[in-house]
Symmetry: C2
Subunit: 297 residues, 2 copies
């Protein structure tokens, strides 16, 4: 495929297997996309599906899955642990390769209009697709949840970005957007002192003045080591090796070395290649030189 | 595709475009392979084709291309600058991902038998597929070239590995084997003193007691820098970062730092991932965690 976009929609159904399968079939039925993962959580009563393809195919699959969910889920009877405001709660587009964030924002905006025009579900745009700063964060948009939606939409502050200011009678509202891929990255220290990991986490995370796009906390690893557990929210701006080197530097203040690090789950090729590029001081290296990447062109 | 094997056959025709195209069509006609590159050299009168696919598809395509070349090339009238002993001079199988060297050796041996059984061209096995040490190096097998082949095959030392000890009347003999992918890797020094690059090259290359699987020479780069120009003949045994660090260490003896490095041409994903794994001390990291690699499964 020429470009790869990942889409990770969240649906408000985590118990009825036949409904989740019907939604998944909406994705599987779209030529040019590949469904990678289905995670259904019964206590959250919510499912997260992950699929990839080029921009047009992913948008079409997201619309097909949304149609199934709007038909099959009634938010008036939905209960679950996880906050939600619609049958299709959130649809993020994630650029993986050969596609820009701007193109993903464009696709998100277009999907939002299609959802309103064909299904009459009002839509908010969030993250990189947000139309104003106070709509960037999903929790802010979702505050009040489905039950508070009618009142929220009626106010001037929360007019939907697309559609009329009233919830769909059974599907509520949907949030669509674009964001960078998140990398879950843990560093184990050659120490069992969790307090050191907590100090390092405070020093490296954005919220307390450290690296941008980095969330971090100090915990104990399964093997008993002090661990700095991080989310790298935008590796294109704050790469893996920058987080690694910053943790190494902070750890050295405590006389502690890095034992090892680990990537949890999936990571884009560019994120790994960028670290090799940094340490080997590679010049003029591009992903088309990686044989497997060339094969995907 | 589940596994990726690269095949880089060399044919003794670099001038007649219609013959080269007919050979290429033999590869294109095989389902499951992808032709990446055709390099025809008129002065060598030789073409190098590069294609990928899984083991069975690549073997079938190599046999189809060999059949075309045996039909269309007459070595009795062939002239060119490059040494050669057959219409299909050499066919290396190169494991790229999801396949072992042993499996490539097996495929090479099987292809060799098929070439003899269907086309009556005698075959030698070389490199990792060699049946004895003196047949590992291609130049040793090819010595005497096509013109000396009848006499060479008649001797006891050079009985073919498959087939009768006489050349095919127009196609000579063919060499089939398996080898690791070669990485062309250059390191530019923060110096214009080529003599320093030559000293470093001598220290790091296998032939003068340095790193195994590394060829190196000191040259001047296009930008005027002192450059250590290397071939990494087996990155699975001697990875990129080992060559980089060894050059860095030797350069430091001369008070010189590394300015930058460059990969020339294609490089397997695993070679790049291995360097990231080394510098980030990644634990339990496997290529299926790279999103693009997962998509190729």
């Amino acid at each position: 495929m020429a470009s790869i976009v990942e889409c990770v929609p969240n649906f408000s159904e985590g118990r009825r297997g036949e409904v989740i399968e019907a939604i998944a079939d909406g994705i599987r039925g779209q030529r040019g996309v590949r469904l990678l993962d289905i995670q259904a959580d019964a206590s959250h009563n919510r499912s997260v599906l992950s699929f990839v393809g080029d921009l047009d195919a992913v948008r079409a699959a997201a619309l097909a899955a949304t149609r199934r969910a709007v038909e099959l889920i009634d938010m008036n009877v939905h209960k679950g642990e996880h906050p939600r405001m619609g049958a299709v709660d959130v649809i993020p587009f994630v650029p993986i390769s050969g596609v820009t964030m701007e193109e993903c924002v464009g696709a998100a905006r277009r999907l939002g209009r299609e959802i309103w025009e064909t299904l009459r579900v009002p839509v908010f745009f969030y993250a990189e697709a947000a139309t104003r700063p106070e709509r960037r964060r999903l929790p802010d948009i979702r505050k009040g949840e489905y039950e508070g939606l009618r009142e929220k939409l009626a106010g001037l502050d929360w007019m939907p970005d697309v559609g009329e200011p009233a919830p769909h009678p059974t599907a509520g509202a949907t949030v669509v957007g674009a964001r960078a891929p998140l990398i879950a990255y843990n560093i184990n220290l050659a120490s069992e002192d969790v307090e050191v990991a907590r100090k390092i986490a405070r020093a490296v995370r954005e919220s307390s003045g450290g690296l941008a796009n980095v969330q971090a906390m100090g915990v104990r690893s399964e093997s008993g080591r002090a661990q700095v557990s991080m989310n790298l929210l935008d590796y294109t701006r704050t790469p893996i090796h920058v987080a690694y080197e910053q943790v190494r530097l902070e750890a050295s203040r405590h006389g502690v070395d890095i034992l090892e690090s680990e990537v949890v789950g999936l990571v884009p090729l560019d994120a790994i290649a960028e670290s090799a590029r940094f340490y080997l001081r590679l010049r003029g290296f591009n992903r088309e030189q990686i044989l497997e990447a060339k094969l995907m062109e």
